[in-house]
Point group: C2
């Protein structure tokens, strides 16, 4: 079985905090409305910086935590749900933050919207197993507030900016080692328009006649919930049976931090005790693809994962996809 | 050494052909100007269809060629250089074309702009080697004409739409088998703004003050050439030395179809005899990430690759990256 070493990880948020009470005010709602509806009290925004700059902050700290240098990295996989520019890929723009290091490595993006880290981790695990790369940087960074529609408080109040960086290695001399029990993703494309930004890509690029709403993030919360409740039980039953494990055997759950109610519904659907769930939605909001690796880093920092413990990363993302990583601490 | 089986592949272009003579006319140039400057006579455009629909056409033909059904696929990796929508990923929108098949599989994108197929192939090869997936669909589809700036004939006249689909498998019973000798990519991020679309992502999303030019593809041909000429010699020397092979041992070259002059300069820089180069730029233009897999499918269809032949896929892409796949026909 494949064992990978998290040599170092770190997370970052930008400086500007935005309180739910401010959003209450903007939306003309009574104080406490947004916090109650979303479960979120604060989220952070980039006012000047880019997603790549936020990524670089997380990467520098992850390198310190790993006691490694940028020159030790073999590849950058950027695993964000939003592009910083349409061209080039996010990973190149992140590498641009490290030009002073004079270390040119391959850069590419993996994108499965909110589950990008799940897919990128799966890719990294395969590269480490085959020996293609030894030290892989996987980084998710989001600065997606420009696409938020003030008219839709459900999404407008949810999203925050954040970054999380991981240095994954097949060396065993330092860091936290995990057996990769299994990874799984499944996409239910009948719901591919339940959460979307319709414009900005080739389908509606600069279309003059396009409704401005098409450029905003648009989600149908009820359809997303339906997609999850319809598919999650079979998805998870198959996954658990394949790996001969029960839900109650899993010690730590790191769910996508979709929303307060979203995490609660997921927990209920999967019968996960709340005490086993990493839930930091209140303090950071939904940080798109950064949410899962950010919350996982938060868990790792607690040093509460004991040898032999099972950790499950799980989430749903636009597509609609469900994704899971099951790890066991060595 | 890892052997992969190209069970089936296919390519597709949309119906509308656009001749260089039409572009001469639009730009007010004498007849023959564009063809002479770009080496391109025709390119194809989607008038109504989406990139996902074009992808589906190529996928259906690839499945026929592979004598496989959609239900046999284990994962979709969309390897395009442009998004169809900002959310969700291209692979989900491609899967949406096959809802009638009632076959839900993982969908994610790999993006390294024009070299997306190189990175996706590398990912697929790792998954096949570890056994994570058995039958992998890698598909590149581009419909990027909306981002073209008529004011810049250098890029306006280059780009065309196309799709190419590959079913890669670790089964050995049918299809064309290749030993994956090596794959390599390297990104030179100092040139990350030499080819770009600055707006449309989080950096300049719906920025009212943004220059409209920021939404158009902008390339600095001289900087791109400089990036290539500066880095290609060392890149290729290292690659050849590592694999103990000489350039003259390679029987078939499939370069990124960047432009007529671009292919010629690459050939000159690497001392590749013209007869060994797949050059179909005249008939299709630069189809972004679809160009390399499209040209490779064209080569495979000729049945001119003999057992023992070396095939090199090579290109440069925005980032700026250089990427290579070296295969040997089993």
């Amino acid at each position: 079985m494949n064992v990978i070493n998290i040599r170092g990880s770190a997370r970052a948020v930008p400086n500007k905090v935005k309180y739910s009470s401010e959003i209450d005010c903007e939306l003309g709602k009574e104080e406490g409305f947004v916090a109650k509806k979303t479960g979120i009290e604060t989220r952070y925004f980039n006012t000047d910086g880019t997603a790549a700059e936020l990524a670089a902050t997380a990467i520098r700290q992850a390198l310190i935590n790993a006691e490694m240098a940028y020159a030790d990295l073999d590849v950058i996989i950027a695993a964000s749900g939003t592009p910083q520019q349409i061209i080039p890929c996010n990973a190149s723009l992140i590498a641009e933050q490290f030009l002073a290091e004079k270390h040119n490595i391959p850069c590419f993006d993996v994108n499965a919207t909110c589950l990008s880290f799940i897919s990128a981790f799966e890719v990294a695990a395969a590269f480490l197993e085959t020996g293609k790369f030894k030290n892989i940087l996987v980084v998710s960074a989001e600065s997606g507030d420009g696409a938020l529609n003030k008219g839709h408080y459900e999404s407008y109040a949810l999203i925050g900016n954040a970054a999380a960086a991981y240095i994954l290695s097949n060396d065993s001399d330092r860091g936290q080692r995990f057996e990769v029990i299994d990874t799984k993703m499944c996409t239910y494309a009948e719901f591919s328009h339940a959460a979307e930004i319709r414009a900005g890509g080739s389908a509606l690029y600069l279309a003059e006649k396009t409704n401005k709403e098409d450029y905003y993030f648009d989600m149908n919360g009820i359809a997303l919930m339906k997609a999850m409740l319809k598919n999650m039980p079979d998805y998870m039953d198959d996954f658990l049976a394949k790996n001969n494990i029960k839900m109650q055997d899993v010690n730590h759950f790191v769910p996508h931090q979709a929303s307060g109610p979203g995490i609660n519904i997921l927990a209920k659907a999967l019968k996960i005790p709340k005490a086993r769930i990493v839930n930091i939605i209140r303090d950071y909001g939904n940080t798109i693809a950064a949410a899962i690796p950010f919350a996982f880093d938060y868990l790792l920092e607690q040093e509460s994962v004991a040898s032999g413990d099972y950790v499950m990363l799980i989430g749903t993302g636009a597509g609609v996809s469900i994704g899971t990583i099951l790890l066991r601490k060595v």
